[in-house]
Subunit: 570 residues, 2 copies
């Protein structure tokens, strides 16, 4: 029997659900409403519009075949009725009606529904500090805000900008401003690393160094206390506890919050942090009301706990599931593992599942293993460095997450997607070490970096290797005394000459191939830190020393490659 | 208790097994023997050495840290004894000895083993036709053969070459000759498509067209009957049933055969096609003898039948498994799904699992679904076309394989590896449609092409869409009569103008957005072929026509994008 489906929100999930449902039930009717003028746009493209990579905002609204997804497009091609600049005021679940207000005219109307879809998305968090209302301070949410920022920078009036928040959007905007508009950009983040929560400190430091090399300045562990304006009421300075940063433009990207007030007032189950609760069919606590996208909370498939992951890709996939279920289907959205990727100048970062910190918070006895190596056969001319960190549970060897950096972004994201696809089936490190990966020299090494990562993790989990990360090495090095640490560099002499001269008390060299015959040269009473180029030879050396009865030995994971990427040469 | 392990073969699997085993059991002894002078080289890099991408053959023998993996390297860094130019003549399984012959001196020796590893690899198949022994006819197997080819082309004496065989190695060599040395190259293949057995005819045709656009000539469905020489005994012509092709260089790349004679004479189980039989621990029928790499047969995880897949990546992973098991471990190598990738000029091809033909041969009631779309958000400036074909089982929707082409090779291989990782757990098309893929505009569309592929397959499996492939369209078009086929192009008028003028009897246009209102214009008594740019709008149109009672309708999968990639514009 034909139904009337009302969808609140027409950016990502709404249009997808509408189109899917109409294809399954062409005789049913769909009304989609949205507060904004513009609908169905690729919000994740906003940084690329700000940068100028995307020339016109309307591009974000177009289909792949260059048609603008506006009201008329939905009417003609999808047979979906769209009302823009229309706010949903309330839901009467008993009567199965929604009350709407047309914003320009103020006219109200009550619409009956058979099924309702809540796709209201999120809104940006703001800073409650003095001066927060000054002109020139922007959040990046919605196309219209993006247009204002783009106008400002393209008019040439911005030479210095401050981005508050070093999450995805903050960093993407920092890249857009620094790279494309040559704006001197400072990122202020109150936590002590970039990409907090989604990547470990070691990789975060490497990514930060890359962005610093490109000219972005970071102030980590610093909080914005106030914004100060000029005589025209425009922002002029960002004041933190340590500094006053001059800026003509401030972008506040400190996260988003679910738009769930409508759901809450209607008595639907909403979590404490504000996410609408949904089941595996994306039904709310009312069986006739579905919800998805940035306004819902989802089950995290690793922790089993609710998670809030406002990602456009999830919204699109959920839209299809809701479309199917509106038509009486039984499509499931079991939960999320939390896959993401971001491009930071010439470096890409990506991850899935839990970071080490998140795993520990969730109660796992976890460890993190680092590998840095070339992403193709080392003899292939066009190759780049990739660094991966695997988070695994001690004892079981279960893989809980993986994060990485790479100069070939597609190659990095490919590895992350492989692990993501497996995560919910609880793979072990051993499984990764034997995974069948397509191989040819332009694409991978014969033993793919994922296989290597799984193998290294297996060895560390079994106690056959004991590693420290580049950031732990940096701490050790910063706190060095006259005779400690004892660093044994296992590379060939020519690679080590400079370091030996510079740090004769700490740096020592025995090439790995000579180690078995020169064990007598090593101190038995001192901790030994093994290092090589990437960690492969120092692992061999670790095995040799362990076999010879040396107990107090660690190997630097990722070797000097990781050390240099994070902090430069000692 | 320390053991003595003897390994026959020192190219890929042997060295890996030796190194892994020695790390686990440093007190045990390993002797590795090889017929050749050169050991432990990246054989898959040979085409890149021939092309000149890899400057010196010794690069293929080096580690990532620039050390040459020769006899001394294995002695010093791995504590492994290697004997080169040494052939294994026989195995006495009762006495647990191998008899070896040092080829330069002819000296024979008998070596006792506790465990034996067979890693003899494969040898190239040859053609039994007149003239096959002429100089200038080469197989590409081993570094020494590659060096001879490289010398020949770099000396400038080759202006025309014929490659026999359009498998991986044949095509890689054709690219090397045509691209880097500007040699006029013809590929002769007796089957009717390139990459036979690993990719469907539709994608094969697209890849072939790309190589033709780069200047390579193909003669498919043609067999070499003879080679003719000049007065100096060098090859001058390749004679097929249709032509005599002038050539100064001929490369024969018609597959490889396992080197298993040693195993067979020792009474080990060897399959009819010559692969040594091994269990999941990579043990042969003798519990003290392991085998792996190009000389064994493996279980195909989709068909359940034995398969012969001579791939360097498998050899490396098997080496680690054997190394572990030599040390008393229980590492498993359950089988293979058959993942591969190859770079063909600016286009990459990759796949995993079964092709449609292979699935049907294996007894599956299978179909193949094609998607062509951009590999990133369509508004992102730097993007390319990707084409994927999913092979799935009717009824269950089980995914049996996927093959694809893409201009961003890493992005393509990433998708293939995701499907490969899932294949053995029998995923359905629906699973792919909901797979969580990392998203950001520089890396993917919000709904990843894998999600789209899974969704399209789901619709076709459920009968909600009915498609034909670009090659079926080409056949239909080639056999057109005065008034059939009736092609309805669903794109906007401006995209179709040229085709309407050129083919007024066959080509018709109703933009998809106008279709519901213009149904009366369509013939009810004729088969209708729907086409658009990529298949998305023609699917929408299919739904509209099906709902309006049109029965005889198909939609072209991949749309005009696929049609043009395979055969150019009609």
């Amino acid at each position: 029997m034909p139904q009337h489906v009302v969808i609140i929100g027409a950016v990502a999930l709404g249009p997808k659900a509408a189109a899917r449902f109409k294809r399954l039930e062409p005789d049913s009717r769909v009304t989609m409403v949205d507060r904004g003028k513009l609908i169905s746009y690729g919000g994740c493209g906003i940084p690329y519009f700000v940068s100028g990579d995307v020339n016109d905002a309307v591009e974000l609204q177009k289909t792949a075949f260059h048609m603008v997804r506006d009201v008329e497009f939905f009417r003609a091609t999808k047979d979906v009725d769209v009302r823009t600049e229309t706010e949903a005021l309330s839901i009467d679940r008993a009567a199965k009606t929604v009350t709407l207000r047309h914003l320009p005219t103020g006219r109200e109307e009550t619409l009956a529904y058979d099924k309702l879809v809540l796709a209201m998305g999120s809104r940006p968090s703001t800073l409650s500090v003095p001066g927060a209302q000054l002109r020139g301070i922007h959040t990046v949410h919605g196309l219209e805000a993006a247009q204002r920022i783009r106008e400002l920078v393209s008019a040439g009036g911005v030479s210095r900008a401050v981005v508050v928040g070093a999450g995805f959007i903050g960093l993407e905007l920092a890249v857009a401003l620094a790279d494309m508009w040559d704006v001197q950009t400072t990122v202020v983040e109150f936590r002590d690393q970039i990409l907090p929560g989604v990547i470990g400190g070691n990789l975060a430091r490497m990514a930060q160094k890359h962005m610093e090399d490109k000219g972005v300045v970071f102030r980590l562990g610093e909080q914005v206390r106030a914004f100060e304006g000029n005589s025209e009421g425009r922002v002029a300075r960002v004041v933190t506890e340590n500094a006053a940063l001059e800026a003509e433009l401030v972008i506040v990207a400190v996260g988003v919050r679910p738009n769930s007030e409508l759901a809450r007032s209607a008595g639907l189950a909403v979590s404490e942090r504000g996410g609408i609760r949904v089941d595996e069919h994306l039904r709310t606590s009312d069986a006739d009301i579905f919800a998805g996208g940035d306004c819902v909370e989802l089950k995290h498939l690793i922790t089993g706990s609710p998670a809030y992951l406002p990602l456009g890709s999830l919204a699109n996939r959920q839209g299809r599931v809701i479309g199917t279920n509106l038509a009486g289907g039984e499509s499931l959205f079991a939960g999320v593992v939390g896959s993401w990727c971001v491009k930071l100048f010439d470096l890409s970062a990506a991850g899935t599942g839990l970071t080490l910190a998140a795993a520990q918070t969730a109660g796992f006895d976890a460890l993190c293993v680092h590998v840095s190596q070339l992403d193709r056969a080392h003899f292939y001319p066009d190759k780049g460095l990739m660094s991966l960190e695997l988070v695994a549970e001690r004892g079981t060897g279960r893989v809980l997450g993986m994060q990485g950096l790479g100069v070939n972004g597609d190659a990095l994201v490919g590895r992350v997607n492989v692990v993501a696809a497996l995560l919910s089936s609880k793979p072990t490190a051993e499984k990764l070490s034997g995974l069948e990966m397509a191989y040819s020299p332009p694409f991978a090494a014969a033993l793919d970096i994922l296989n290597v990562l799984g193998g290294v993790a297996e060895n560390i989990l079994a106690g056959r290797n004991r590693g420290i990360q580049a950031d732990e090495f940096a701490t050790l090095w910063a706190g060095r005394s006259d005779d400690a640490p004892y660093i044994l560099d296992c590379r060939e002499r020519t690679n080590v000459e400079d370091l030996l001269q510079k740090h004769p008390k700490h740096w020592h060299n025995i090439p790995q191939g000579e180690l078995r015959e020169r064990l007598a040269e090593l101190p038995r009473d001192q901790a030994i830190v093994l290092v090589c180029n990437t960690g492969a030879r120092s692992y061999e050396a670790f095995v040799t020393l362990a076999h010879a009865g040396f107990k107090n030995v660690v190997s630097v994971e990722g070797g000097m490659t990781a050390v240099m990427a994070a902090n430069g040469l000692p």
